[in-house]
């Protein structure tokens, strides 16, 4: 079971080797409400750290999802095209967005761990 870390923009990241899986946190999906569409990048796209990688559309509005790490998109979660609501029902599991081959693993360790993120979220409420 690999460690999960979080960005201030409420993305989570899990790492297996140099591959980072990225999604949005439970807090983020609750804030968004019912997700009705997710726009995923093309495989092979280079994403910068902190740059826009996906767009998630809830009933209310469109929101950007930023990649907490830089690298190449090697896989996207095609299941979200058929059932975007997975982002609501299983945000940190089946509701992942993209997998990125990281350029620099230190970008992962620089993110908040579970405890730090829990405190960060508590401070927002």
């Amino acid at each position: 079971m690999s460690e999960q870390r979080y960005s201030k923009d409420h993305e989570w990241v899990r790492v297996d080797g140099d591959i980072a899986t990225i999604g949005i946190s439970d807090y983020a999906q609750k804030q968004l409400g019912d997700v009705v569409y997710v726009e995923l990048p093309a495989k092979g796209k280079q994403v910068e750290r902190g740059a826009e990688a996906c767009t998630v559309e809830s009933v209310k509005a469109a929101s950007e999802v930023y990649s907490p790490v830089a690298g190449e998109v090697v896989e996207v979660n095609a299941a979200l095209n058929d059932d975007p609501a997975i982002v609501n029902t299983d945000p940190v599991g089946k509701g992942w967005f993209i997998k990125v081959r990281m350029k620099d693993k230190n970008e992962f360790t620089a993110l908040m761990d579970e405890g730090a993120y829990a405190k960060y979220v508590a401070g927002l409420e």
């Binding site: 409400g33 019912d34 569409y37 767009t55 009933v59």
Partner: protein
């Protein structure tokens, strides 16, 4: 400025609502069940909406109907007692200052106006020639909407089930006098209840105690009205759009078209005769990408023809829908258009409004 609370604020918080600022009011955007569930519940059973942020206005005076007709294009004088109409305050260019409901409450006229336009409307109504408009503060407005609404409300106020669509009457709920209109903003059968603010929570809780009723917030109110093809002021209509451009000419009765004595009548009548340059239409997207307000509309060759004024996901439709204005030549059902979202062109078609058929009460007295 501190935003205002409706008489149901504590109830919303107790029900776990997410509160947002809307037109200067703290309003529930959704409850824990979420917008889609609230939307579906309204279409299948009945939902309770707090719409107390809207302005309630009483117009009194012997000349009230004729005076109001000088400000709106609807036939007010011809309204029978306890019947209501949807109309709009127009400006000298035929633009829409606000849209509103007018009820002939026998001894007076009762108006319901948009929260964001209340002060501007009251200023406008201060100019009534031979009548006086008074805002009814200290009142709540509760909407009960959905196919089960009549049965639910009849258990509290027997007789409401006999009201015709766009009809009204005075009833009592738990001994509280309530003005009930058979109207709403969802496309479903339903009612709006005007009652003293002090009794708001008691009435709302009685209705919510019914197994068929759940609370719904502004989020569901918006998806429901969009599917019903109903306009939202400040988005689909405003001071630069006329009733004809907005496809609301059905609100201008024959007598008023002939008399032409409302603000902007010359422009409106010219548009009625020759057709407007642009027209509000419904748009259905082929894919799953929602097109929000402000999205450019192009023809099938990419030339710009208009703009989306309301758009999002229609839970009953099961996909993205939008309303917007296009040049009249393109305002034809079935016409292929493209919507440009985040730089990518998406195929869409002009469709008839509403997206979801209205299910207003059709019995008795129509």
């Amino acid at each position: 400025m501190e935003s205002r609370r409706t008489p149901l604020y504590d109830l919303h918080v107790a029900l776990g609502a997410r509160m947002v600022e809307f037109a200067g009011w703290q309003m529930p955007v959704q409850y824990p069940q979420g917008i889609i569930a609230e939307h579906q519940h309204t279409r299948s059973k009945a939902s309770l909406f707090d719409v107390s942020h809207m302005g309630q206005v009483r117009v009194t005076g012997a000349g009230r109907a004729a005076s109001l007709e000088a400000l709106v294009p609807a036939d007010v004088a011809g309204l029978k007692p306890w019947r209501m109409r949807y109309t709009m305050l127009t400006n000298d260019k035929g633009g829409i200052i606000d849209d509103l409901m007018v009820l002939n409450a026998d001894s007076h006229l009762f108006l319901v106006v948009n929260a964001a336009r209340r002060d501007i409307d009251l200023q406008r109504l201060a100019g009534l020639a031979d009548a006086v408009a008074t805002e009814l503060a200290d009142r709540t407005l509760i909407a009960l909407q959905g196919p089960a609404a009549a049965a639910v409300l009849a258990r509290q106020a027997p007789g409401v089930e006999n009201l015709p669509f766009m009809g009204a009457g005075e009833f009592a709920i738990d001994s509280v006098p309530v003005l009930v209109t058979r109207s709403g903003y969802t496309g479903e059968d339903g009612f709006e209840l005007s009652a003293p603010a002090a009794d708001a929570e008691r009435i709302a809780r009685r209705l919510l105690a019914d197994a068929d009723v759940a609370p719904a917030g502004l989020g569901a109110r918006d998806t429901l009205r969009l599917e019903a093809g109903l306009c939202l002021w400040g988005h689909d209509i405003d001071e630069t759009t006329t009733p004809v451009e907005a496809a609301l000419e059905w609100t201008i009765q024959k007598s008023r078209r002939e008399s032409g004595t409302f603000p902007g009548a010359d422009i409106v009548r010219r548009q009625l005769a020759a057709g407007p340059k642009r027209r509000r239409v419904g748009i259905k997207l082929d894919g799953r990408v929602p097109a929000r307000e402000g999205t450019p509309i192009a023809d099938d060759r990419g030339a710009p023809i208009g703009t989306v004024t309301s758009g999002g996901f229609g839970p009953t439709v099961g996909g993205p829908i939008a309303m917007g204005y296009v040049y009249a030549a393109h305002a034809t059902t079935g016409k292929a258009v493209t919507l440009v979202v985040r730089g990518a062109a998406h195929k869409a078609r002009i469709v008839e409004l509403p997206f979801v058929q209205h299910r207003y009460f059709e019995g008795r007295g129509r």
